[in-house]
Structures are given as C-alpha cells and as structure tokens.
Amino acid sequence: MAEAEQSYGLIASFKNTASFFHAAEKVRDAGYKKWDTYSSFPVHGMPEAQGQPRSKVPIFTFCGGITGFIIGTLMVWYMNYFDYPLIVGGKPFFSPIFPFPIMYELTILLSAFGTLGGMFITNLLPQHYNPLFNSAKFLEVSGDRLVIAIESRDPQYDPQATRSFLEEIGGTDIEEVNA
C-alpha cells in the first residue's frame, strides 16, 4: 500500500454543470465517503446530490445570539442597577424595556460572530495548505473547471477501480494528486 500512502486521491473534471451534478449523484450512490465536488460557484441542490446533511452553522449562530442577549441583559443590570445605581428621570434602575436596544444589538453582534466562526469551524478553516493545491488542474477550478476528487483514505478507494469509475461517470482529465 506504499503507493496509496503517497497519493491524496484522484481528481476528475466534468464538462458542464449538469454532467458534474449527475456525476456527484453517482459517486454518492456508489457509496464513497471521503470525496467532494469543487466548483467556483455554489451549485443549486449540490448538498443533496452529494448526500450531505443540513449545515450545522445555525447552531453556532444560536449559541452566539443567546450569549449576546444574556451579556446585554446582565451588563445593563450590573452597571446601572447593581454596581452604580444612577437616578435618571425617576426611571427604574433596571427593566427589560429600556435597555432593549442594547440587548438587541448585542444579540445580533454575537450571532454574526457565531455565524462566521461557525462557517470556519464547520469547514475546518483556516487550512492554508491542502494537497489539492499542488495540482495545476485543480487551480483552474477558480476559473471554470468543475472537479470531483475522491480521496485515497476512502475505504472503497482503489487506484484502478476508482479511476475507471470516474471515467464511467463522464470524468475527463483524470489525474492522481500526491499527498
């Protein structure tokens, strides 16, 4: 298996969005697990075609939002009621009404940080190096190339069989990428 250890996997290109999309469905149906599609734009319906579950990003958003709301509430309570009660116009020291803009803005602020952070965490970014970047063909994905890559660590991966499978589903320019 020395050969498989040095190989990251195989990449195949597809000529248009429709064939790319249907090829992804076939890879999914063939039971591959460690593979992904690469295109310079999001393809409508691709997560389903790849058999991926719904994104987990909303969980991070929710946690951020709850944190923001609680921080906003506690901050106003601590500062204007507990630590330094300040009489202003006979208004109560604390109420959930008057500081609502503060709670509202902090909820949105931390939700936004949660969302961006969640996007990075779920995508395992930052990851500035990836073996795929070594392939000149892969870099063309940024232009108009549409690529499917099957990794060698997939249990079903076999250098010969996977290559012919990719050819069968319409892949061209099949290339082995070194790890």
Binding site: T17, Q52, P101, I102
Partner: protein, 499 residues
C-alpha cells in the same frame, strides 16, 4: 405557439381559452448579457486588480487625498482649540456634526439593503452590485463615526462611550438613546465588515489561485520583476485572507447557510440602526422631533439616499471598467425604481408630518412645522422638498432611466436633498425651541465646512483602495445567476446565454 404547448393541461376549456387570447410571453432579461462564459466573468473582475494601476486612479487618488486633508485639518484645529470652533451655540448644540453623521449613516443603509434584504427576497440582480455597495456601507460608517466621536468635545475620552471600567468607576447610562446609538452603530459597522469579508472569501481564493497559476507558468517575459513581485505579494496577501478556501461542495454548503443567516441578521439590524438614530431625535421632547413617524421615515430616507449614492458610484465605474454586461440597464432600472419608491415614501412622510401637526392641534407643534417651511430656514426646506420629492418622480419615465448621465445627476441631487433633510430636522427644530428669548440662528464655521467637505475625500480614498485591491464584484455570485450554472439546464458549454 411554444407558450401554449408549455401551458397545456388536461382541461380542454383552458387550452381553448389560451389559444384564443394567446398570452404574451414575457422574456426575463438576462443578468449577464452578451452570452458571456464563466472565464470571461472571472477574468473581467480579476483583471481590475491584476492589471497595472490606470492613470485615472492616481489622479483620483491624489484629488481624494487632498480633499481628505480638509477633514484632517478641521479635526486637528478642533482638537487643539476646543469644540467651540464649530458654529454650535445655545440653543443649537447639534449642528452640522449631527447632520453629517445622520447623512453618512443613511448612505450606508443601501449597501446592507442590497446585500441582505434583496438576498432574502431572492433578487438575482443584486449580485453584480452588492460587493461595491457593502464597501460603500463600511466606508460611510467610518465617515459617519468621525462626527459624534469628535462632537463629544474631548475626543481622548470617547472610549467612555463604551462600557469599559475607568478610573471614575462610573458606567454608561443605558436609558439614553445616545448610548443605544453607540451600540447600534458599532454593531452595524462590525457586522457589515463580517458580512463583507465572508462574501469575499471565495473571490480572494480566486485571486490567490490566479497569482499562483501565473507564478507556476512564469508568464513574466517583458513584464519585469515588479509584476512577479506583485504576484508573490498577491499569493500571500489574498492567500492569508482566503483562509485556505478551496471551493469544495462542503465549503459551499456551510458558506451558503452562513451567508443566508448573516443576511437574515443584517435585515433587522439595518432597520434597527436608523430607527435608533431617529430615537436620538424622537425620544427628545422638542416639537418637530417628538414624533412617532420618525423611525419608518428615517429608514426610508436612508435607503433612498443610499441608492442615490450607489448610482453615483456605479455609473462612472461601469463606464470606466466597461462593465456594461454585468451592470445592465435592468440593474439601473431597478435601482431607479427603488429610489422612486423610497422617495415617494419620504415625500409622503413630509406631507404627513404637516397633516399631523395640524390634526394634533398642538400650537407648538404647528408652529414648528410652519416655521420649518416658511421661517428663517425656508431655503433649506425648499432644497429638501424639491430634491427629494420632485426629482425621483422623473424615474417613472423609462427614457429618463435609460439616460445614464441624467440618472447620475439626479442621484447627486437626491443626496443633496437628503443632506438638507437632516439639516432641516436638526437645526430648524432647535433654533426656535421653547423660550423665544433664547432663539438663535445657526451658521456653520469654516471648520465645520472643512471637516464635512473632507469626508468625501476620505470616503473616496477608501473606495479607491477597495477598487485597487479587492474584487469589485462577487465572482461566485455572478456565476451562480448565469444559466450555465444551472445543473438542470441543457447547456453543452460554459456559455451564459439567454435563459
């Protein structure tokens, strides 16, 4: 007859009726014209930052820097002398500074509207203008922030606005709308930057990959060492900020979810920001300020002025960079129509304010409004009314919308009008307040004028930097609305022709 076969059903009556009336087939205007392909889009947008700096950029930058120096001068004079160098005096303690703050913050709103609200409404045409509009938002917030920051008088204590522990062991007073504003504007600025940055990650990846490709191919014969050095810089600069983005389906899945959520968060945010800005006025008891119409009226005005600014910026850019296939007549039409819609809301609000002042039968309120239109500041009211109410009504006519030069002039008039609106609201209400003995007349000083004039330079400097170093349009999003990106279409090549 293709239309009829498409619509044919099992119902013979319906088919017969359709054959009789022959409904017109409405063709949707393509968002990218002239049958362009993916590579053309990538190339067109990337080459703006990859080709040598054009001469006009240097000229504009020089002018912008010189203009920005006026703000620097005005602020240096203010800080070294004291806030008295502005034309503020009792009872008018909110002069140009607050007018300019509201003006700039309002301009920012169109950027968020385009990037967030139109995203939620699935308006495909937003794609080619949203990046530049978001940049405009951020730079407008920067310009806006300067004014209240220096208006506090002793700017080195401005950090007291934030709930940070200080030597006096006191905290901000959260019952004040001004404190709400601190939170609203700083949240708005931060979330706008996050949204802008996240939208840019895939495009930064494209710029990185293109630089790496050129370095690998070594295409620098005759181009000189500088071109190669710039590509090495690009490889690392864009590479670091692209965070290793590699266009994976898995990346896009999480990215699209995050984008949608950020759009969903920005929508209530943008509405809250100008609402809270209007609370600065509406929560006071001054006749002319103390009205419930302020929040919706301010938000509509903000979107109106912001779209005016987007048109002011995008029309010259479209001509300079030859982006006619990406910013089409359809885009201009839509922006003009939004100006028309929001301008009409603003006009309605002006008239409704008068109606309520009369209907409310409060003599002080009535006086405030009659004084606004016919008192000592009648000229400002006239400027506001004619620019904001009459100008956008011309957008009803398609001949006007198709005349780019005329649209550009009108977009500037809209912003002049919106600046005067803020002047009218702020100054006329304060100048003639409760005690006639203390009434006054406000005029700006040269320092006020310098500081405001310079912010246009600051805005231009930031925008020119953006044009030079960052992708002007979201490449991935433009590709996404092209027919060739449709996985269920039947296109054999990467062409983006008619749908």
């Amino acid at each position: 007859m293709a239309m009829i076969t498409e619509n044919s059903t099992n119902d013979p009556l319906r088919d017969a009726l359709l054959a009789k009336v022959q409904p017109a087939e409405l063709v949707e205007q393509p968002l990218v014209t002239n049958d362009r392909d993916f590579n053309w889009v990538t190339d067109k947008i990337c080459r703006i930052v990859e080709t040598p700096t054009p001469l006009w950029w240097w000229v504009c930058m020089a002018v912008a820097l010189m203009t920005a120096a006026f703000t620097g001068l005005g602020l240096a004079w203010l800080v070294s002398t004291g806030v008295g160098v502005w034309g503020l005096a009792n009872p008018i303690n909110w002069g140009w500074a607050i007018v300019n703050f509201v003006f700039w913050i309002g301009i920012g709103h169109a950027g968020t509207l385009i990037s967030a609200v139109l995203c939620l409404l699935k308006q495909g045409w937003r794609t080619s203008i949203n990046r530049a509009a978001e940049a405009m938002t951020i730079f407008a917030v920067v310009c806006a922030g300067i004014f209240p920051l220096f208006h506090v008088g002793r700017v080195w204590f401005a950090w007291w606005l934030f709930p940070l522990p200080n030597a006096n062991v006191i905290w901000p007073q959260f019952r004040s709308p001004l404190e709400w504003d601190v939170f609203a504007v700083s949240t708005y600025g931060t979330v706008s930057v996050l949204f802008w940055y996240m939208g840019m990650i895939p495009d930064l990846g494209v710029l990185r990959d293109r630089a790496v490709q050129r370095l690998q191919k070594g295409v620098y014969e005759g181009a000189g060492i500088l071109a190669q050095a710039m590509d090495i810089f690009r490889k690392y600069f864009y590479g670091i900020f692209a965070m290793g983005w590699r266009n994976a389906g898995n990346h896009w899945r999480n990215y699209e979810m995050a984008y949608l959520i950020l759009a969903g968060l920005s929508t209530p945010l943008v509405l809250s920001v100008h609402t809270i800005v209007s609370f600065d006025f509406a929560a006071a008891q001054l006749p002319g300020w103390h009205t419930t119409i302020f929040p919706p009226y301010f938000v509509a005005g903000a979107i109106f002025s912001g779209f005016g600014m987007v048109l002011t910026l995008m029309l010259p850019l479209r001509a300079l960079y030859g982006l006619h296939d990406l910013i089409t007549q359809r885009h201009i039409d839509n922006m003009c129509k939004i100006c028309l819609g929001t301008g009409s809301i603003v006009g309605y609000a002006y008239i409704m304010e008068f109606f309520i002042a009369w209907y409310g039968a409060n003599p002080y309120e009535s006086y405030a409004f009659i004084n606004r239109a016919f008192g000592q500041y009648w000229w400002a009211y006239l400027m506001m009314f004619s620019c904001n109410v009459f100008t956008p009504q011309l957008f009803w006519f398609s001949a006007v919308r198709k005349n780019a030069a005329l649209v550009w002039v009108m977009s500037i008039l809209i912003n002049v009008g919106m600046w005067f609106e803020r002047f009218v609201i702020t100054v006329t209400s304060l100048a003639n307040d409760f005690l006639p003995s203390s009434w006054g007349y406000y005029s700006p000083t040269i320092v006020d004028i310098f500081t405001f004039f310079g912010t246009f330079g600051l805005f231009s400097v930031l925008f020119l930097m953006f044009l030079r170093f960052l992708p002007l349009m979201p490449i991935a999003e433009v590709k996404f609305v092209m027919p060739a990106a449709d996985p269920h279409g039947h296109h054999d090549d990467g062409k983006g022709g008619s749908h």
